[in-house]
């Protein structure tokens, strides 16, 4: 059993990736109540109310407890504002070992997702002996498609999740390291 309090802490130029705390709920609830954010992150494409966001937070933390890895809470180094969640994701029946990302709307367009995903991807490849990782991206999510491309990923196939078409982007260890 992994204790989520032992979640590693990663630093980038502008961001800190860290373990979840109970007091992340307020900022996570704001993020998940935004229809444009929820559209590509929740299984039914709908925003989450606050009690359901707590269950989502418990799922994020519980994923670390059960798997020993998960999505990090991401905050700005300067000031500590909550930015979103980025990291590893592989619940039961998932398409593969995923590098995932999702940011609060107020932090879109700053290059934060790329910065955090690079750090998380480095950590994933260094820590788990994987030969490849994938990212599941909604077929209409152009921002995330652009990000996956910038990370050097390529579309492997299209699949259906929650009844919606999603692209499976992937990258091999050697390609990631060669960037």
């Amino acid at each position: 059993m992994f204790d989520p309090r032992a979640t590693p802490r990663l630093e980038t130029e502008r961001l800190i990736l860290r373990g979840w705390r109970e007091d992340d709920l307020d900022a996570l609830a704001v993020m998940m109540s935004d229809a444009d954010v929820a559209r590509f992150l929740t299984s039914d494409q709908r925003p989450l109310d606050r009690p359901t966001t707590w269950r989502h937070l418990a799922l994020l933390v519980g994923h670390w407890a059960l798997r020993g890895y998960g999505l990090f809470a991401v905050e700005e180094k300067e000031g500590g504002a909550f930015v979103g969640r980025v990291g590893a994701w592989q619940p039961e029946c998932w398409v593969g070992f995923e590098l995932g990302w999702g940011l609060a709307r107020s932090h879109w367009g700053k290059g934060y997702a790329l910065e955090a995903a690079r750090a998380a991807g480095d950590w994933v490849f260094q820590s788990f002996g994987l030969e490849r990782i994938v990212s599941l991206v909604h077929a209409e999510n152009e921002r995330s498609q652009a990000l996956a491309k910038r990370l050097g990923m390529k579309v492997r196939e299209t699949t259906f999740y929650g009844g919606m078409a999603h692209e499976v982007w992937e990258i091999a260890r050697a390609e990631w390291s060669a960037r």
């Binding site: 059993m1 979840w20 606050r50 009690p51 707590w54 994923h63 059960l66 039961e92």
Partner: protein, 183 residues
């Protein structure tokens, strides 16, 4: 470890581990078992539920325990303290809830495990009362609540989202009542 291990005459109670998942998924696919505790769940949804239970331990310091038989190590269900969102989560109170696999029902395991979980909750979580949220038609759970010494306090209460369409009756008792209970 993210929580304690409790031992009763026949059971071990400890926070969920990944190795519990096959049993957890099996129970989640039993229509009669799941009828009053959130409904049937396929493996992907069941995993998310089990992770949410583990996450409660990490966030709040308590949550549902996995229940295992001491003699065989078999996972037979989950029960224990449950208050999603903590004090401000909109849950009707400090609950000890339970749910066992069908093959483990009718042998006094839920009573044995729930009593240990209530003892632990009063001794470690500072609770003054314990409640159980039970569907009106869930006769076995109502019988267990009464057997534990809890009484019906509220009828037809809507739970917090995502279960706002599910009405339950609230059974409960005070810490003093629990401590005075004949063993």
């Amino acid at each position: 470890m993210i929580g304690p291990t409790l031992t009763t005459a026949r059971l071990i109670l400890r926070p969920p581990l990944h190795e519990d998942f096959d049993g957890f998924a099996e129970m989640s696919a039993e229509a009669e078992t799941m009828r009053f505790i959130g409904g049937l769940q396929a493996r992907d949804a069941a995993w998310r539920t089990m992770a949410t239970l583990a996450g409660s331990w990490a966030l709040l310091g308590y949550g549902m325990y996995s229940v295992l038989k001491r003699d065989t190590g078999e996972w037979i269900g989950r029960l224990g303290p449950w208050r999603p969102g903590g004090k401000e989560g909109g849950w009707p109170g400090d609950e000890v809830g339970w749910g066992l696999k069908r093959s483990a029902m009718g042998q006094g395991y839920a009573l044995e495990g729930a009593a240990a979980a209530i003892d632990w909750s009063f001794d470690h979580l500072g609770w003054e009362r314990v409640i159980h949220c039970i569907d009106k038609e869930n006769a076995p759970s109502i019988a267990l609540a009464l057997r534990l010494g809890s009484l019906r306090e509220i009828e037809d209460l809507a739970l917090a989202p995502p279960f706002q369409d599910h009405k339950v009756d609230i059974y409960g008792q005070s810490k003093a009542q629990w401590k005075a209970r004949a063993r």
